[in-house]
């Protein structure tokens, strides 16, 4: 039984990853979760310089999900390289660094600094809805996405994954633009922009007014978009959006995702990633699936 998956030439021991922003740099959860059991750790977004992020409250619960407006707080790439990468290198898992920026130059600076680092892939966050210049425009206009993808691809030493925003009319246009510009893979979905209002205080529940919605509530939207993108492009997909258990993960894989990432559910059950990996093996046994790659995109 083979749980290995390959994405853009990188081999993962299993398809299970962490969704950027929900697992810190791995360190924070390493007392609870054996990182060696993960296909990859996808780190919280890192920029060329430290970012303060948004005021609090930054998180709120919603029905079956949550909103966050962290605003990509991060310590900057230099600290990240010095502290977080060496920590992650202790474990037998792949490292995918999520890269954020306010301009193409910002992204390129981070990507270049990571060039000689022992990281396996770069996930390019062009779809964070919570920072005013956080690159969301790059993720909502196909021509902008094409341009930034091309510029980053030129400089990147590792395969790149463009992370797509669901806040678009046609996700396939975005995926096609990323593919055409040379992206090695795409990941989707980032969070869906949402809002919560406190009716007693008559104010926004998040200091940022809007936030990004995640959790099981949004899973059907994510599965639909993964399916659409799988039918539109040839590059591999990392699927995410509300994965809470192996059944959910398998749903994404059947829809077309080669990798699957657990996001908000890490907060609800820190052992979710482990349970997903184990559940995928059980499903393979139940249905005599020799290679997990064989089920990817088979519901058509």
């Amino acid at each position: 039984m083979n749980t290995k998956v390959t994405i853009a030439g990188v081999e993962f021991k299993n398809p299970v990853m962490t969704a950027s922003g929900t697992f810190g740099s791995g360190m924070e959860y390493s007392n609870l979760v054996d990182l060696n059991g993960l296909g990859a750790v996808v780190t919280k977004g890192v920029a060329n310089v430290p970012w303060e992020g948004n005021p609090t409250p930054r998180v709120q619960e919603t029905y079956g999900g949550m909103l966050n407006a962290i605003g990509l707080q991060n310590p900057g790439i230099d600290v990240f390289i010095e502290r977080d990468i060496p920590f992650l290198k202790q474990f037998d898992t792949k490292i995918i660094v999520n890269v954020c920026g306010r301009s193409i130059a910002d992204y390129v600076e981070v990507v270049e600094k990571l060039g000689d680092q022992p990281v396996d892939m770069l996930e390019i966050n062009v779809s964070c809805p919570n920072v005013s210049h956080g690159g969301i425009a790059f993720g909502q206009k196909a021509d902008c996405l094409y341009e930034i993808t091309q510029e980053i691809k030129k400089k990147a030493k590792q395969p790149i994954i463009m992370k797509l925003s669901p806040n678009v009319t046609d996700i396939t246009e975005m995926a096609k633009a990323a593919e055409a510009a040379g992206s090695d893979a795409v990941s989707l979905i980032n969070t869906i922009t949402g809002m919560k209002i406190d009716i007693h205080k008559r104010t926004f529940a998040l200091a940022n007014k809007t936030g990004g919605m995640s959790g099981p509530a949004i899973k059907p939207v994510a599965v639909r978009m993964v399916y659409q993108v799988a039918n539109a492009v040839k590059i591999p997909i990392i699927g995410m959006g509300g994965i809470a258990n192996a059944e959910d993960a398998i749903e994404f894989m059947l829809a077309g995702a080669t990798g699957v990432a657990v996001g908000a559910m890490n907060f609800v059950n820190p052992y979710t990633t482990k349970e997903v990996a184990e559940g995928i093996e059980q499903y393979m046994k139940q249905y005599n699936i020799e290679n997990i790659m064989d089920i990817v995109g088979t519901v058509r």
């Binding site: 609090t56 998180v59 310590p75 908000a264 609800v268």
Partner: protein
Amino acid sequence: MEQMRKETATVYSQQELATGIYDMWIETGLALMAKPGQFISVYTKDKSALLPRPISICEVDQDHQRLRIVYRVAGKGTKEFSGYQKGDSIDILGTLGNGFPLEAAKGKKVFLIGGGIGIPPMLELAKQLAAEKSIVVGYRNDELFLADELAKYGKVYIATEDGSVGTKGNVCNAIEEQGLKADVIMACGPMPMLRALKAYAEKEGIPAYISLEERMACGVGACLGCVVKTKEKDHHSHVNNARICTDGPVYLASDLDI
């Protein structure tokens, strides 16, 4: 040695201490690692409400491996918890946070100050702290939950918003009215109270350790949901934000920009 984990524990007892204030003992091995000022995250059974509720530890019974939480019903999560009875299961993650630095107050004159639902963590702190303790607690009215128990560990001064017991007003009014003095402050309560104590401590030139609360998601420092502004760049974040769940919830007030 116990280690932080999520587990399904068992409710040992529950009672309503005051209107909307509940008192629950939980049977859990996590009691063995619990420190005053730490908290646990409690998960609902309501699957529409996914994020855990951070609740401060009120008392620790290491002999019987039990933790006590005293909490206010503020929403659907705590409403659900308030219905749990002896023998019910309860999912918890803990123990979390840094706790109060006992060494910083050892042998000194110390104010233990609690406002409203910030009172509970003062109980275990009062038990464990070997110091000359003045315990100042602020309530809304004459429902003086935990005051009797606190009195076992130090002199208790009471303020009530409605003036029904003790000083009319808040804990600062009580300190002033009673002419109290201390070398160190340890406090938990609403932000306006903590801000006032920060100012008071600066005026008096004494350190104040204050425990904060904020909306949280992960509870383990990963999501950066619960941060507080710091005066200097934080050693971990490299910006002027510290994570309340892991770097806190207890801070030296003078380190914060609140």
